[in-house]
Symmetry: C2
Subunit: 392 residues, 2 copies
């Protein structure tokens, strides 16, 4: 097998780098943002839509696919690519996050985790070994170790969870069988810089193909998130992928690329799209707002996505207002295009040596969503999730 | 203006005919089925999807567009074509059917109808004149007269409603201003053959561009529907379009083309698609059925729609089961393609002189949905509609 990750250029003034991931289903040029297709479908989009907006890789989820449609079905259909008719690379998350957040966790021990399905309450068990087998049978190009995810909290718990995550990572490495599949570790350690550093160092010693930073973007402040990233990135092997899980707001992408992150995924652009919130270069715009009801302009002037090329704000306002499914699809296309094209633009600036200036200009123009609003939205979402988990 | 409807060929053995409708936004080859985009969007589909499945014309609805987004907005966006980014012909229904079924009718008099919006209860009034002005401002290529729709019932009521519909048709003709817009009349008369005949004769004397048959497919038996069609079609001008409103089951399309119908619209293919019911040449197939959970075959072997070309029954089963919006879109594409391609196939057989044999073979292979099931579904739908009208 050739090298999985090749660095093409490093930024002189920042930690940023440009690279290519080689996978069994084609390359991924980095920095890259991967849309999330939790249940083997990026919500509202077809594979042709994804190609059209420039997506290179799609993320799916072992926990969800294991429960529905089940791995036997996916295997019989020739694997996840053929099942969902997506020819490009697929990354599956192990489901660690879902077991600890979405499912009803029954017990966790050194061997694995027992949980109840969020769909029908049936009991299931994941071990590091079963989780690797599951993802290899699903047929993803890049798979993730099983980790113990927890909310940022007390040090004692963070430390014992970290030790377990590390032992599980060793077992995942040993359990891997498929040569054409790449396995990434997940750095944990809560909001403790020394634990993050310890985790990065421990996992770096394992023969993994890439390194995710997990347990961030789960409610902490942006300053805390960047502080943890600063504590982690320098301790990861330079020539392996760095993947920041669950991060998807534009300003976080720019700041993380600045710190040497290569890969991102997040449900944010697709989830907020279905609520009418649209990502622009100056911040979020809510298309439900009455002032858009007769606005003939596209969502963003100069945007080349197929939504902005064909439809007005007034039409999108009408579709979202009348709950037409086409509206959710058109807003999803715009938001994913916004992030995918942002990573492509950062790539060009990194290659041209103009990334530091780009970053400065971007952060000057962009107004992030207020932290209070973010916290309120998160709490409302958590409440909804508890009441109606299938909407997650 | 050139002739609106040109007959290219008539079937020797049946009433069937092949023609072309000329409109300001291009031709429609008949027989044709027009997908319904009630709120300026065919549910779940984009204009590119519609072109891809072979749709030639889209139907929209003056009542719905009048309420949301309002005619001012559509006019400011350059008309309905530009608003929804659909370059082909658009037909708007007048909203007569909606005023009598969906809205809360307050009063009807010889001058017009006063109703309350199904959305917010606000009071509105349509007259024949305002309804024509409305549709001309929306910018449809083909518009419909305002008619009094009612459930099949007593003769006295059917007769007085018919008289009013006729007087309104005369006023619609007088109110029309735009030269580039075509106006169709609507034959009513309930389930009374002599009233249907009287209506066809009355409207034939008016300078209308085409003739719809209304008030059918509203709960009567299929035998009654065909009986009414037999009583109507022979009394309509041969060289004008014949449009059967609200009819969209495959066997009805074949039987109606046999009786000389040129144009159809119906929400059936899109509505049942969102419930997982798929139209095939042998009848309906419900993709929710457990036997499809690992079926690698397409919905229908040989079908050239983009759903069948790319996705398995197992994947569609999974998407519908997990309520992924992509599933509703893929099933909608298949069902609309099924009807659009059925009309295209009938056109070829009419041109080749093989339509009688095709009809025989089709009706032998196809198992229509059981009348009891149809009635049950209709009653359940009516109940849902009363409880939650916006889902209509």
């Amino acid at each position: 097998m050739p090298d999985h990750f090749t660095i093409e250029k490093e930024c002189a003034g920042t930690g940023g780098r440009v690279g290519v991931l080689a996978t069994a289903h084609g390359p991924v040029e980095t920095p890259a943002f991967a849309p999330v297709g939790t249940q083997a479908a990026v919500k509202t989009l077809s594979p042709v839509d994804l190609t059209g907006l420039g997506a290179q890789m799609v993320l799916s989820n072992a926990y969800h696919l294991y429960l529905r449609p089940g791995v036997d079905v996916i295997e019989r259909m020739g694997g996840v690519h053929s099942f969902m008719s997506w020819p490009g690379p697929v990354l599956t998350d192990s489901g660690g996050f879902q077991i600890f957040s979405l499912a009803h966790l029954r017990s966790i021990d050194d061997d694995g985790a027992t949980f109840r399905s969020h769909i029908d309450g049936s009991e299931h068990r994941f071990t590091p070994e079963s989780c690797i087998e599951l993802q290899e049978r699903i047929g993803a190009d890049i798979i993730m170790v099983l980790d113990e995810c927890h909310e940022p909290g007390e040090r004692d718990y963070a430390e014992s969870a970290l030790d377990r995550t590390h032992r599980w990572a060793e077992r995942c490495v040993a359990a891997k069988r498929r040569e054409d599949v790449r396995l990434y570790g997940i750095v944990q350690g809560g909001l403790f810089e020394d634990l993050r550093e310890r985790s990065a160092a421990f996992l770096s010693a394992l023969p993994l193909d890439g390194y995710a930073v997990g347990g961030l973007s789960v409610g902490e402040s942006k300053a805390d998130m960047l502080r943890m990233l600063d504590a982690t990135a320098p301790h990861l092997p330079k020539h392996k992928t760095r993947y920041l899980m669950g991060v998807g707001s534009p300003e976080d992408l720019v700041e993380s690329v600045h710190r040497g992150v290569d890969l991102f995924d997040c449900v944010l652009p697709t989830r907020i799209a279905r609520n009418g919130a649209l990502i622009t270069r100056t911040g979020r715009l809510n298309i439900r707002n009455a002032r858009f009801h007769d606005d003939p302009a596209p969502v963003e002037e100069g945007c080349e996505c197929c939504t902005c090329s064909n439809f007005s704000r007034a039409y999108l306002h009408h579709l979202i207002h009348t709950q037409e499914m086409l509206g959710y699809r058109l807003t999803t296309i715009h938001n994913l295009h916004a992030l995918v094209s942002l990573t492509a633009e950062m790539r060009r600036h990194l290659l041209n040596g103009t990334f530091p200036q780009f970053r400065e200009q971007f952060l000057r123009d962009f107004t992030p969503t207020d932290e209070h609003v973010r916290r309120h939205n998160r709490e409302a979402r958590t409440k909804r999730l508890r009441e109606k988990p299938e909407s997650f």
